[in-house]
Structure formats: C-alpha cells, structure tokens
Symmetry: C2
Subunit: 429 residues, 2 copies
C-alpha cells in the first residue's frame, strides 16, 4: 500500500475514531496493554534482531541502549498505556456556549484533529506512547520510527493494531511507515493529514517545515537561560543554576547560558564554579576575571545548545540587558530569573518571549509530567496551537455547533431586523 | 527600509507591545479614532486619487466600489476602532493554574503572538480594522493591502501610526508593505514573524502556504452544504435552504450544494425551486426528474464554490450518504442538517468534519459578528490554532509562568524524592 493510500485510509478511519465513546477508547487501550504483556515473547524476539543488527553495524552505545525494549521496559510501556486510559477524555468537552437568540444556541466543542503524522526517534516505547495518545484523543495516526528499531516497531504495530481491531477500532486508524521516502510522501498528503509532529533534531524539524504545507508542531533548539539578578539571594541562586545545568544536561530544558548581574557576579560566580567543578565554563571577559578556570566565550557560544556539561557565562548590567540577550540569542523555550524583587521578576516573565518562564526555580521543571499534564505529546517552541510542554490538548481542536429551530440570517438584517442576544450560557466543565 | 528591516523593527516593537496595559492600548485606539475624523480631508483626498486611477484603468465596478473610503465609510471605520477599544483585553488572562508543590505554582497566561503578517484585499477599511485588532491584542503587524488602494493605505498608515506614536506606542509596531515582492520577502522572515494571515482567493492562500515555513491562518474554499433529512419539516427546510443560498450568495458561508433525502425529495425540491426562481439548479439524475427547470450536474459541480445564484442538488438515500458526500467534496467550512430527529442531528454534527455545523438553521450564521466574537480576524478552515470564525483569540497565544522559591528538579528524583501535588488552583476568570 502506498503512503497516499495509507493516509486516505487513515482519513476514513478518523471519521469513526471521532465518534467513539470514552468507554470504547479506554476498552481498546486496556486490550492493547494486555496484548503487550501476552505477546511479550514475540516483541522481545523482534527487539533482539534489532539489537543484533545494531551490534553488527557497530551502532553507537547510547543509540543501541535506547533501542532495548524488553523486560521492565515492556512492562513500563504497558503501564503507560493504562495510565493514558485513566486520563480524562479530551473529546466532547464544551469550551464555551452562547445564546445568539431565543432557541439559537452556539457551542464550541472539543473534537479530534483528525489524522496526525508522527516521526520519532529510535526508542520503540515512543511508538506505544504515541499510538495510545492518538487513540485516546480519537485521532488516526501515521507513524514513522527509527530504522534501527524496524523489527521492534513492526512487532509493536502488529500487536497494537490487532488488539485495537479486536476492540472494534476501524481498520487503518494506525499505519506504519518505514523509509525516508515514506516521510517525504507523507509530507505531501495535505488533503489527508492535519498535523505533522516531528521529533528529532532542530535540522530535521526545520527540513520537515520546509517540505510541507501541513501544519507542523515542532520543537527547535533548547537554548535556556538562567539570569541571576542584582537582588538574588546567592544561597538560592547557586542550587538553581546547578540543577538547571547539571541535573540532566542532555535534554532541551537544561540551561546553556548563565547571565549574572554585575553587582553580584563577584559573589555568585565563584560559588557556582565551585558547586559544579565538572562543568566547563565559557565566559565573557568580565566573567572570565572572576572565573580562573574558565575559557573565553565567542559569539557562537551565546547561540550554542551544548546538551553537555558546558555553560556559557555573561555578566550584564541590568535585567533589561538580560532580557534583550535572551530574546536575541535564546530559542524561546524556557528561561529563569533568580531575584528577591517581585516586580522585576514579573517584568522579566512578561518581556521574555519564551514558552516557559521561571522565577526562582530550575528550567528543568518545563516538562509535561512535572507540569501535571498527564502525558506529553511533545514540546513546542512555536507559538501557534500549543506552546511549551504539550499534553493531549495538542491533539485536539474544536468545532462550532449551532442549534436552531428554523433560524435564518435574513431575519437579522435591515433596520427592522431582529437583534442577537449574545448571552453566555454557563456550562459545567 | 527593506522588508527584513521592517520585520526586525516590528519584532523589537512587539516586546514593548506585549507589556502595554489595557489602558495604554485603549488610549491609543481612542487617539486613532479621533485622528481618522480629524484628518478626514487628507484621507479622502488620497482615496480620490485611487478612485481616479481606478477609473483611468477601467477597474471592474465591484472592485472600484469596494475602494471607496469617504464620508460614512470613514465614520464607520472610526466607530469600529472605538468598538475594538471597548472589547475585553485579551492579554494577561489566566487560562489555568496548578500548584506543582508547596510554593511552586504554575500559571498559563495569555500573551500576544508577537508579529503578524497580514495580506488583505482592496477594501481600505480592512487596514483600519486589522491595525486596531493587532494593537488591542498587543501584536506588531506588517500590512500589505491591495495595489488599487495604495494612496488610501499610505494615508491611513500615516494617520494611524502618528496617532499611535503620540499615545506612546513604540516605533515600528506597524509597517506598510506595498508590492508582491514585499510579500515574498515577508514570507521568508521566519525569525521575525510568527503568523501570516492571508485574506484572498483559495489559490492565493495555497500559494502563501507553499512559500513559507511561518504558520498560516488561512481560509480555503467555502463549499457549504445543507442536508434536508427524511425527518425534515418542509416548512422549516425551505426557508433555511433559501437563506443559506440567496441571502448573500457571494460569501464563503453561503450554501453551494443541497442534499435531500429520497423520502422527502418529491415534496421538498419543487417547493425550494419555487421559492427561489432566480437560482440555477444543477441536479443529479434523481433530482432532475423532480426539477423540470434544472440542468444536469457534473462531477465538478460537487466541488464548485459558485459564490453566485447557482446550487448543486443531489438526492441521497441516508444521512450517512450525506455525511460521506460532505466530508468528501466539502471544504470543512460550514454545513447544516435540517431534521426533527435529534439523535440524527447530533450524529451529523459529530461526524461532519467542518469548522461549523448547524442544526435547523442557515449556514450564513457562521460569522464572527453573529457568533458574538466582538471582532473577526478571519475565518479559518484549517484545524490548528483557531477554527471557523476567529476573533481576537486568534491573535493570542499563551505562556507558562512558574513561580518558585528555590525549587530544583533534583529534589523530585529517586526513590526518596518529593512528589508533585498537581493541585488545581481556582482562578477568577
């Protein structure tokens, strides 16, 4: 079957997915969780083939490790599906209601987006998670995983689609793509696909955006900043900076640049350097004078996403200078201010143009799980549709539903025309 | 100044626009309304030049008429600016709040999108309206109007930007573009522009989407349907169909195709034909047998946006067939069902994949003013960000704001780690 045919089948299936009840969807999720456990041998054997191939091709150690999907990881994936089932149903919620006139009532109701195209990396648990989230939100989905996990993905796809089918889900609600050419073909299916969610490098996401007219929910770099203000308490600033940089440096919400106000630089910078000796500091000339172990930063350091134990450091003369630096060099992901001055914190949060802004806490909190979203579809650095950590609501749109009893527009025109009441109807949410 | 420079200036200005208070923005809108009235002679004289040029170039009558901007039209535009000032401020609203842990509180707050690129048609009042809506929502804007209205647009741009400047708005928050090359250059400024809103033909919107990686809030065809069900009351169906087709046929929410259930076709179709004798009917063979004055429809009629007194007519055997037809041939804009059967109506509304769905009322109600949105930024037929008639909320996104007191993620990891409370904080809205 071609990608165009898979996409057209997904479009048809999406019409049925949209009208499933919460019970039907949760029943299917239960079947999927059970099937993952029941058909463990089949999945683990497919995963072994992938890992053997990876060993033959001398795949880099971290990649090979992410490929592993057996034992505990498989159990965790099944529990993950059950926790998606336990989430509140995101479909059919009333976002607002308004009486336009007597007997003419307008409702704005949440509905699935329709067909989602997902491209994700080598980790096979991503397939399980994405399929569950799409099912829960009533969407059909085209999935393209990493080539290294081909056999595992095929096995998972078979197990999940058979379990879903046995629970009454329509054929074709989920389709597996396998090659880069498949992805290119998918990006051309603007009639059948409503949203593309690429997970991967910044370059990959940019290339997807250039190659499609379908909307893309994407994630660019995570160049996150911590600004330590003149009114910062060093006892609070040091642990926040250390956590933001070192708690998990390989992820997008880790800090890459530290900005310190000149008034506190002499007190704060040496303490930070001492608290995280393993971190390489790349400092502006003024910071360099206070940090004997640092190297001099170049212009490119302000735009670097190290994802490693490296931190760019710059001394600034005002919160204003910090804000300007962040808006200029940052990636609009997550940025923090440390200060005891509430007014300055609020101004920082308002003027920094990023998806998440933090006051006196670590940038590492910017995450769907920590934010309490229940599930994370991705992190978006664009501003349209969804921003920052995106939960199930990123897979949902709305529909206007107008209930009348023969109302026509011509009755509302001209000097004798009826007026609209436009009265808000309160709705239990 | 190049378009790239204008866009960069707009980006800088947008930082200031985002932190203006409701009072500052409304004060500026008041100044703009006053300036439109005070500098009437200047604006009307510019408009006269445009109309003289149009006459010399023998511009088509409807286009030339839309160009007129004097007297009453100018007064209406000034009143429009004042009514935008009277709307609720869309910025700084709390969409949700959650305690993550003691002293660690997360707020999701509405903020402006940033910089919007608007391309609109010949009507000069569009410039006034768009500038007001962007100002109200704290956005900077690049505006490209129709070439026929060049002098009027320049005059309006001067009057509005001077009035806004005198009220303290930052330089460059609004910029005027004039040529097609300017538009092409604008579409490349993905670093400085967050959203493109093109108003114009379907072909134009599609071409914009293909030429940019910036998100586009666009509007494709309006191929709207009315389905008259087997349980429809003819006394209600006829006026709804007549209104949907004839009340204003040149607009996107007018009906283009009528679907009628076979059980009621013999009663309903002749009555509809009689009620709107000026409408040309293009009918499927079964409808043709009931409509002596009709011509036979071809496949292309089901995909036609006539914007004229023409209606495609098809007899179907079930609501299911009607839904399938609409999802296949429609443009996901607005579709209506006429029936006395509530269950069937609800199923139709759920399964028809359109921005607006109507029960027992005219498709012509799908409009920002009639929906009570206060102002209409545009109508979107995509599903991402905003759908259907879009009010000020289409110019708004949100930001996550996390308030802590030294919280670090490392305290929440490992078997001894703290747990999140994830308690909803209720907020007055």
């Amino acid at each position: 079957m071609t990608v165009a045919e898979k996409a057209a089948r997904a479009r048809s299936a999406s019409r049925i997915m949209a009208s499933l009840s919460a019970e039907q969807k949760n029943h299917a999720l239960g079947r999927i969780a059970a099937a993952l456990r029941d058909r463990r041998t089949e999945i683990e054997s497919a995963n072994r083939s992938d890992r053997e191939a990876a060993a033959r091709e001398a795949l880099a150690e971290p990649l090979a490790k992410r490929l592993t999907f057996e034992g505990d990881k498989l159990d965790q994936a099944a529990i993950g599906v059950e926790s998606v089932a336990a989430l509140e149903d995101p479909i059919g919620g009333v976002l607002g209601a308004r009486e336009l006139d007597e007997g003419l009532e307008l409702f704005r109701v949440t509905v699935p987006i329709g067909v989602v195209g997902m491209v994700f990396e080598s980790r096979p648990d991503a397939l399980v998670q994405i399929a569950s989230l799409c099912l829960k939100s009533g969407n059909a989905v085209l999935l393209k995983g990493g080539a290294e996990a081909r056999n595992t993905n095929r096995a998972l796809f078979t197990v999940i689609s058979e379990a879903a089918g046995s629970a009454g889900l329509p054929d074709g609600w989920m389709a597996l793509l396998e090659s880069r050419d498949d992805v290119s073909e998918m990006l051309a299916q603007s009639d059948s696909i409503d949203l593309i969610i690429p997970r991967g490098s910044n370059e990959f996401v940019q290339s997807v955006m250039r190659r499609t007219t379908i909307p893309v929910l994407g994630h660019a770099d995570g160049i996150c900043h911590v600004y330590v203000d003149s009114d910062a308490d060093p006892a609070l600033a040091v642990p926040v900076v250390v956590d933001a940089k070192t708690q998990y440096p390989a992820v997008c919400n880790a800090a890459e640049t530290l900005l310190v106000h000149a008034d506190v630089a002499a007190r704060v910078l040496p303490a930070i350097a001492e608290a995280m000796p393993a971190v390489e500091l790349r400092a502006c000339p003024r910071a360099l004078a206070l940090l004997p172990g640092a190297v001099e930063a170049t212009e490119s350091d302000w735009r670097a996403e190290y994802l490693d134990l490296i931190l760019a450091v710059r001394v600034v003369d005002s919160a204003d200078e910090a804000i300007t630096h962040i808006n200029r060099y940052g990636s609009h992901h997550t940025d923090a201010i440390v200060t005891a001055n509430r007014t300055r914190a609020l101004e920082f949060m308002q003027r920094v143009d990023s998806a998440s802004v933090m006051w006196n806490c670590s940038t590492r909190f910017a995450d769907g799980y920590r934010y309490g979203l229940g599930a994370e579809v991705g992190i978006a650095t664009g501003k349209i549709h969804a921003r920052g950590p995106v939960g199930l609501e990123g897979l949902v749109t709305y529909q206007w539903r107008l209930f009348g009893s023969g109302h026509v527009v011509s009755d509302y025109t001209g000097s004798e025309g009826r007026s609209f009441t436009h009265r808000i109807i309160s709705v239990d949410r």
